[in-house]
């Protein structure tokens, strides 16, 4: 029997019983659609987190005061391990490292901003002009903190979009004076609404020069030093160099923690990647169930078509030809079901993206290949048994059955 004839015969057999065909294709398509949508969700979550981190800035190295990996705990440790301050001078020193492109010291505190009669408690971030370049901030109005001596900042302020709305409403904000604590600042810029930034919503922040922030909060130590490496490959070098400089400045003691964005990203990537695989595994169970359903349907089909099988044998069909016809039908059912499921899955992912535009819900290629492959393979594997049963039917009994 020619392959094309086998195919045509199987298509005819499948089309000859539309309900049976439809149901088994439906089962298979739900399985594949589940794999596609669930992996799209998992991978979307992974990409979402990575995008969020990238929004912090690229090639980022972050210095935190204090050492997180202290050895054992002893009362003496508590007293002596108080970290040295991480100062603006430290930040300035790090800038000397060859692998470092930009440095921004960051100091954080909270204060009440007052304009006219309005009062709002706001997180104040003290930093320098470079902060904007490192974090890739866009401004809606005016400019960011001016380039000036880090130790002698001028009394200016850049505010987030929400702060502007709540303090000034429809009035223009640029050039206005804002009181924060016992100091007065001139508003020189408004950040555009980005909403990005882990933990801190830039909409609700106010930026002032780092020296003034430290005076306001009466502290010498910084909250963070943000470092931008010259290029991606230089991140590790920048980290080592920054660490060495700070160690030298702190009398040989490693009392800061330096983390790279890459390390954090890699961890998230791994965790969420594993999650996606796990979810795909759960969805694959539905594929196996669909495969068993296809087998059921094919077994019923063999029973229903017993006289036909007997006839084919009488007309000279070999075992091989009958096996091929039934295997082809099973494979067709699963392949068609799989393709329909793939289309459904893509549609589902598209709906997710439409509902949550921030969420990049695209199924990963490996999941699509694995989903379709599993659908096809289960169809074939579960098609073997019915096909063999059909081929082994006794033609006399098969023909006698009415």
């Amino acid at each position: 029997m020619r392959s094309l004839d086998v195919l045509r015969f199987s298509v005819g057999a499948a089309a000859g019983n539309p309900l049976r065909t439809l149901l088994s294709m439906l089962a298979m398509s739900i399985g594949v659609a589940a794999v596609v949508v669930l992996t799209a969700l998992g991978d979307g979550a992974r990409r979402y987190v990575i995008d969020q981190f990238s929004a912090l800035g690229t090639n980022l190295v972050i210095v935190l005061p204090g050492r997180t990996q202290t050895g054992g705990f002893s009362p003496a440790n508590v007293v002596t391990s108080t970290p040295r301050d991480l100062t603006v001078d430290d930040a300035r020193a790090v800038l000397r490292a060859p692998a470092v492109l930009r440095v921004a010291p960051v100091s954080v505190g909270s204060a009440e901003l007052t304009v006219g009669g309005k009062l709002r408690a706001t997180v104040i971030v003290g930093s320098v002009a470079e902060y904007r370049d490192i974090r890739r901030f866009e401004l809606a109005q005016g400019g960011f903190l001016p380039e000036e001596d880090w130790s002698h900042g001028s009394p200016v302020m850049v505010i987030g979009g929400k702060v502007r709305r709540e303090l000034f409403g429809a009035e223009p904000a640029i050039g206005r004076l804002v009181r924060a604590g016992d100091r007065r600042f001139r508003v020189i810029g408004v950040l555009s609404t980005s909403g990005m930034g882990l933990g801190m919503n830039t909409d609700e922040l106010a930026f002032v020069p780092v020296s003034i922030a430290q005076q306001m909060f009466n502290t010498n130590t910084l909250f963070r030093i943000l470092i931008e490496a010259r290029h991606r490959d230089g991140i590790a070098t920048a980290k080592t160099q920054a660490q060495a400089i700070l160690k030298a400045r702190h009398e040989g003691e490693e009392d800061v923690t330096v983390i790279t964005q890459d390390a954090v990203l890699a961890t998230f990537d791994r965790v969420l990647g594993t999650l996606t695989v796990g979810v795909a595994g759960i969805a694959a169970i539905s594929l196996a169930v669909a495969g068993i359903l296809v087998m059921n349907v094919m077994l019923v089909s063999v029973t229903q078509r017993t006289p036909e099988i007997g006839l084919l044998k009488a007309l000279g069909a070999t075992h091989g030809a009958i096996r091929a016809a039934f295997m082809t039908e099973a494979a067709l059912l699963s392949a068609m079901g799989g393709l329909i499921g793939y289309a459904l899955g893509l549609a589902g992912a598209a709906v997710l993206r439409y509902l949550y535009p921030m969420f990049p819900a695209y199924p990963p290629d490996w999941a699509v290949v694995a989903g379709l492959g599993t659908a096809f393979a289960t169809g074939l594997i579960f098609g073997v048994m019915p096909a063999r049963r059909a081929a082994r039917l006794d033609p006399v009994l098969a023909l006698a059955k009415r």
């Binding site: 020619r2 006289p307 044998k313 000279g316």
Partner: protein
């Protein structure tokens, strides 16, 4: 006359066919010897359970004897593998059934083409041969009809066209008129007889005395053995 020996188309010797029904054994065929020459027209007759159908299935290679020897065209076919038997069925034997056994989802033309498709004959040649067969059997305007759109007589003509499309040496007909009214049955029998006149060996299993009487040779069976084997004088 039967011509035993090398000239026979079918030669059955010492055929036993035992079925096991639970603990008991049923001898469907018992010590059966039969030889049929090429071109013969044989009616196999007998009451129900006499072994007619079992004999037909054996001759058609749908069943194997428990013991005994079956030579088809001088070749021992009982020892053939199932695949080889399938090939013999495909090339040498045509079946006509009482209930037509057409595939319901296929058109008349597709049903007729089925044996050629199974034999792997090229579509172009299939189309030519099917067109010729449709014309020969007066079904040209019914080619694209499905079995449920055909009358009983038309269905059986499709079945006969299917049985002959591979130009077999032997046609086995099991109660070919059983599901047809008398006039249609007559027409179908005439078709089969025409084929026989063209040289094809025809074996008909039937209850119908009138149909049996038309055959030149009548094999009457009882309890799995040949009771009487008579040949009429060649009158026509």
């Amino acid at each position: 006359m039967t011509t035993p020996g090398n000239g026979a188309l079918i030669e059955l010797t010492g055929i036993e066919r035992v079925f096991h029904l639970g603990d008991s054994e049923v001898h469907a065929l018992h010590e059966l010897d039969l030889a049929i020459a090429p071109g013969e027209y044989v009616a196999v007759m007998g009451p129900s359970g006499s072994g007619k159908s079992t004999l037909l299935n054996l001759i058609g290679l749908l069943d194997r004897p428990t013991t005994g020897r079956y030579l088809l065209e001088g070749r021992d076919v009982t020892t053939l593998s199932p695949e080889e038997q399938a090939r013999v069925r495909s090339q040498r034997i045509g079946f006509v059934f009482q209930s037509f056994h057409l595939v319901a989802r296929l058109t008349a033309a597709e049903n007729i083409a089925l044996p050629m498709m199974l034999a792997g004959i090229a579509p172009r040649e299939r189309a030519t041969r099917v067109a010729q067969a449709l014309k020969d059997y007066g079904l040209a305007d019914r080619a694209q009809h499905r079995p449920d759109q055909l009358s009983g007589g038309q269905r059986q003509r499709v079945a006969i066209a299917r049985a002959t499309i591979m130009q077999p040496a032997l046609i086995l007909a099991d109660e070919p008129t059983g599901n047809l009214d008398r006039a249609t049955g007559e027409e179908v029998v005439r078709l089969l007889e025409q084929l026989n006149a063209g040289g094809v060996t025809l074996i008909v299993v039937t209850h119908d005395q009138a149909l049996g009487a038309r055959a030149r040779r009548r094999v009457l069976m009882q309890d799995g053995a040949v009771l009487r084997d008579e040949t009429s004088a060649l009158t026509s």
